[in-house]
């Protein structure tokens, strides 16, 4: 159990190679999950019984099953169905399908946290219902959802490690490859953990910046 500095540097190189792939998975996963949450929350909160029921059922299914099993389902399933998806696409799809569900719930929580009186006041002042929502409720809701979105984003970044199991060559995959070949496993997983810590810390700080920028100046 010894730490070798030269080896540490080579490890940084190898895992750094995987870093690009991790970012290439994480960025679209974050953005597409946030986008996919929008139609979901619209269906969830719509007055129509069927759309809200379907959205509710969808969210219960994706939230109550592991994303790893969803990945296997899509990855191995698509191959068997005759249109094999690459690991990258299958992994990204599973991440977005699940996290879109979580994020729809975050959006719903944010919208519902704005007092009903705000809507009543808007309507009383003669705003149309659409304008009341867009100009009065939504801007306040956006501010409320930033912290939970930040938490969910960190979980998404961490979950990108799962695509290593369907052979996408991101950081965890590269680290494992090295660990299979060499004996210096401490250095490898130490460096890998640092890379993830750095990624999630940078992401949290960025979200914090957004939060501060959106804060109402008193």
């Amino acid at each position: 159990m010894s730490f070798d500095v030269g080896f540490l540097l080579r490890t940084v190189d190898a895992i750094g190679e995987g870093l690009r792939m991790t970012v290439v998975v994480a960025v679209p996963a974050l953005l597409l999950s946030a986008v996919w949450g929008v139609p979901l929350v619209m269906a969830l909160m719509s007055k129509g019984k069927l759309p809200s029921l379907l959205a509710r059922a969808y969210i219960e299914v994706v939230r109550n099953t592991p994303v790893l099993v969803q990945m296997f389902f899509i990855y191995f399933g698509s191959g068997m169905a005759g249109f094999p998806l690459p690991g990258y696409v299958a992994g990204l799809l599973a991440l977005v399908l699940q996290n879109g569900g979580y994020i729809a719930e975050i959006y719903r929580g944010g919208i519902q946290s704005i007092s009903q009186r705000q809507t009543e006041a808007g309507l009383a002042l003669g705003f149309m219902p659409r304008a009341t929502f867009g100009l009065i409720v939504l801007p306040q809701a956006v501010r409320k959802v930033i912290p939970p979105l930040s938490n969910q984003g960190v979980l998404i970044i961490k979950d990108t490690s799962l695509v290593a199991t369907i052979s996408v060559a991101e950081m965890t995959f590269q680290a494992r490859l090295m660990a299979d070949r060499t004996a210096a496993v401490f250095e490898i997983f130490f460096v890998l953990a640092l890379f993830y810590l750095a990624l999630t810390t940078v992401f949290s700080l960025l979200m914090r910046l957004v939060e501060v920028r959106l804060r109402v100046r008193q």
Binding site: M1, E60, V61, R63, N64, T65, P66, V67, L68, V69, Q70, F72, F73, F76, G77, G79, M80, A81, V154, K158, D159, S161, L162, A164, T165, T172, A175, R176, A179, A183, V185, F186, I188, F189, L192, A193, Y196, L197, L199, T200, T201
Partner: protein, 214 residues
Amino acid sequence: MNSLLASWPLLIKGIGMTVFLAAVATVLATALGLVLAGIQLFAWRPLRWLVELYLYVIRGVPLLVMLFAMYYALPYAGIQIDPITGGIAVIGTYFGAFMTEVFRGAVLSVPKGQWEAGRAIGMRTPGILRDVVIAQALRVAGPPYINTLIMVVKATSLVSVIGLADITFVGRQIVERTLEPFIVFGFVALVYFVICYALSRLGRRIEARTSYVH
């Protein structure tokens, strides 16, 4: 369908392993969470920093990476533990951090005035903590605690990657033989769904029972 029927003993074993891992890891995570939340709220400052560091690391490092680190590194360190114990230890440690946040948040949600009121009527600190603060904090902790339980159940699926024969691992084995991924992984997903959905219904019942109108 036949592939599922033919392998039912394996599937039952896999489900048993998943439930066992989730249950023991939950107990471990809960105990850890209680101790660490206690430290964070009341202990000597440097100790609190240590807990803070632990929470920061767990928040930023994927569970899969921790599992791999345990799986690859422990044998090199000369530590021989069986993978089941190792898996439980890692999952318990990981979710111990989540539980710490749940319990700390619950205690902090009790207004300061409750402490002052307790003191004003002559109660001592342990008494206030037990009869006033924790009594009210438990109410708040219920729903996030159940949410964390659901996360634990789902997270146990990761042990399949380091070779523990849980339901996900068994599913992969059956798929390799039968080439029926939709049916097999559909069934595996259903197993998790039944467990997690039952837990979330329980959570909603607890929430309805314990919340009161102010």
